[in-house]
């Protein structure tokens, strides 16, 4: 067990990566063998992520460093050693993101087994699915900027492949091109920023870079490029055009994983803002930039969802708007952190954390919402896949009366929808409440927009639910039924997560969200110290 925990960061990447290339070969032996292999891999990965989380949260979210190959260094480094090896650095935030990814990948893979039953292309599908998984884990666990870029590109290629690999579908090709172009552009912006940082400081390691970044002109240009590139890949609003297309045109289980992928980019953005630039370049303006982007994302996402009549595109715009809530929570936290540092210094942060300053609460809300959003949006995408396959149409105007024969699916869809809209007692309420409360203290206007958009989102889903499930049966929906057990179980698992997290939010906030939030709030020094020692 301890060896597994020690090597978890690299195994989380290596196992899905090997699986990705084994899938097409094993697929030759038959579908059952392949599904068994994929199932074992995702189960193993989920177990590893859980072990890693237990380990990291057991230590209060303190960062641990893993070095790949030849154990000649002991961390923290001493005597001017330079970390030239491949480093993984896992703190509370990384472990938390790992849990989210594990949840979505596990449910997504199990759902896919039944979803892909009648179609060809399953081998390629699972190959890309596992490649995407490896890339997402890599982005979340790496301690090196260039490796971050490589994993970013791995997720880009795998995600675009998943969106567009059904080449017989007209729209999916259009979406695939758009997604790949935007992802490539965002990756190149990130690479340019990494090049600038390397030229300025001569390092690629996040900890050593964070140690020497001081907010000079080149640093700020690099920050701007990173902010643009990562926000673009997360689907924040001025650069969101690809997101509804991608989520809408990808196969249903993949849409959920694509949302996890966007969250991984968001994680990268937060890592850059808090850890890489962190205390060295703390400015309220950065927090406000994030807040403005967030408000735009929330508002545009919800209003665009309101006018959709394509079920999947509607959910996709809902997913875009939820990215905004995470950015709002973290942006408020960033602005507050900067003002605390400006007024009373870095040491005041831990004091503010014990007093539960609203900046930390806001961070908790934003981070907790990532997990809740993954569960809710994942559930909605799964349910939409079931609905679309049963009724043979994506157009809400042509659906109707599905609730008569698909009782469980309609219940699941309703739970996912109200949870995403932030209705108690589900999990979306728990995290959104933290965001409302904290952002109100920074500026009431932010909370007003956030609450208003949540209500609009509820209206969107009431409309969708009414159109799809209520009313008389139509010709298309007369002979539908609930899906097989293989698709019901993943949906039920996500419903369980939604309800448990909604009923006992305090427990989860204390044990997994707070260490993650504190890793951002005051983890700057610890993150550097884990590699370089007590500087």
């Amino acid at each position: 067990m301890t060896a597994l925990t020690t090597h978890a960061p690299v195994l989380l990447i290596a196992v899905p990566l090997l699986g990705a290339f084994a899938a097409p070969l094993v697929g030759k032996l038959g579908r059952g063998v392949r599904n068994t292999l994929i199932g074992l891999i995702v189960l193993f990965v989920a177990l590893l992520a859980a072990l890693l989380a237990v380990d990291v949260f057991g230590a209060g979210g303190a960062p641990t460093v893993y070095e790949l190959g030849g154990g000649t260094f002991t961390f923290p480094l001493s005597g001017g050693q330079i970390p030239v090896r491949i480093l993984f650095e896992v703190d509370g935030m990384s472990a938390f993101m790992g849990l989210i990814t594990a949840l979505i990948v596990l449910t997504g893979a199990v759902f896919s087994f039944s979803y892909w039953k009648e179609r060809s292309g399953g081998n390629l599908y699972f190959s890309l699915f596992l490649l995407l998984t490896a890339g997402i884990f890599g982005m979340q666990l790496t301690g090196d900027m260039f490796n971050f870029f490589v994993f970013l590109e791995i997720t880009s290629i795998a995600a675009a492949g998943l969106v567009g690999f059904r080449v017989w579908l007209k729209q999916s090709q259009e979406a695939g091109f758009k997604v790949m172009a935007m992802y490539t552009l965002s990756g190149l912006l990130v690479l340019l920023a990494i090049g600038l940082l390397y030229g300025q400081h001569g390092h690629l390691n996040i900890a050593t870079l964070a140690n020497s970044i001081n907010g000079g002109l080149v640093d700020m240009i690099a920050l701007g490029l990173l902010l643009t590139g990562l926000a673009m890949k997360a689907g924040a609003v001025p650069m969101h055009m690809w997101a509804p297309d991608a989520y809408g045109e990808a196969p249903a289980p993949t849409s959920a994983v694509l949302v996890a992928n966007s969250q991984a980019s968001l994680y990268g953005l937060f890592r850059v803002l808090f850890t890489l630039f962190g205390v060295g370049v703390s400015a309220s303006a950065l927090g406000w930039i994030l807040i403005v982007l967030a408000l735009l994302t929330i508002f545009v996402g919800v209003t665009m969802a309101l006018i959709q009549h394509d079920l999947k595109r509607l959910i996709a715009y809902g997913a875009v708007s939820q990215i905004g809530y995470m950015m709002l929570g973290v942006g408020v936290g960033l602005a507050r952190q900067a003002s605390i540092i400006a007024s009373s210094g870095v040491d005041a942060l831990s004091d503010a954390a014990t007093k539960l300053d609203f900046g930390l609460v806001s961070l908790q809300g934003g981070i907790f919402h990532m997990l809740n959003d993954a569960a809710c949006v994942g559930l909605l995408f799964f349910a939409s896949g079931v609905i679309i396959r049963a009724s043979g149409t994506r157009d809400l105007n042509r659906m109707g009366g599905l609730g008569h024969r698909m009782m469980w699916t309609s219940i699941f869809f309703a739970i996912g929808a109200v949870a995403l809209a932030g209705v108690p007692p589900f999990n979306g309420f728990a995290s959104k409440y933290l965001i409302y409360e904290a952002s109100f203290q920074l500026s009431p206007f932010l909370a007003v927009i956030a609450v208003l958009s949540s209500i609009l989102l509820l209206a969107v889903f009431v409309k969708a639910f009414q159109a799809a499930f209520l009313g008389p049966k139509t010709d298309a929906t007369a002979h539908v039924s609930d899906p097989s057990i293989g698709m019901m179980v993943p949906m039920a698992a996500l419903v369980l997560v939604i309800i448990v997290f909604g009923l006992f939010p305090g427990f989860f906030v204390d044990h997994i969200v707070t260490p993650a939030a504190k890793a951002l709030w005051l983890g700057h020094k610890a993150y550097i110290g884990a590699v370089l020692g007590g500087i």
């Binding site: 260039f146 490589v150 590109e153 880009s156 290629i157 675009a160 492949g161 567009g164 080449v167 007209k170 729209q171 090709q173 259009e174 979406a175 695939g176 091109f177 758009k178 790949m180 172009a181 992802y183 490539t184 552009l185 990756g187 190149l188 690479l191 340019l192 990494i194 090049g195 390397y198 030229g199 690629l204 509804p244 297309d245 809408g248 045109e249 665009m304 006018i307 959709q308």
Partner: protein, 116 residues
Amino acid sequence: MNIGNLPFVVAALLVIFGLYTLLFKRNLIKLVIGITLIETGVNLFLVTLGYRTGGISPIYTYAPEAQQMVLPTPQALTLTSIVIGLATTALLLSFAVFVHRHYGTLDVRKVKELKG
């Protein structure tokens, strides 16, 4: 101006041309060319970062004493970036082929079933 800075200027120009192409051209193939231009610019920037005037290649075996070497790390980065660029370009072009097969055109103004 120092002649050694010229590659940086060229890299910046390539990125700017690429961005211009992305923003103002309407043909899918030209968009791919634009992305490739940006990529080339970034790669040139990385290589130039590591170049030292009069430096030798960074191989320690039989290296002359006290001779400056060019930095190896940016070259490794560039190689990785080129390989990734190959994959993305290939994927983009194959999407363009399939878009042309379905829509019968490469004009982005006519390829817009997904909007709003």
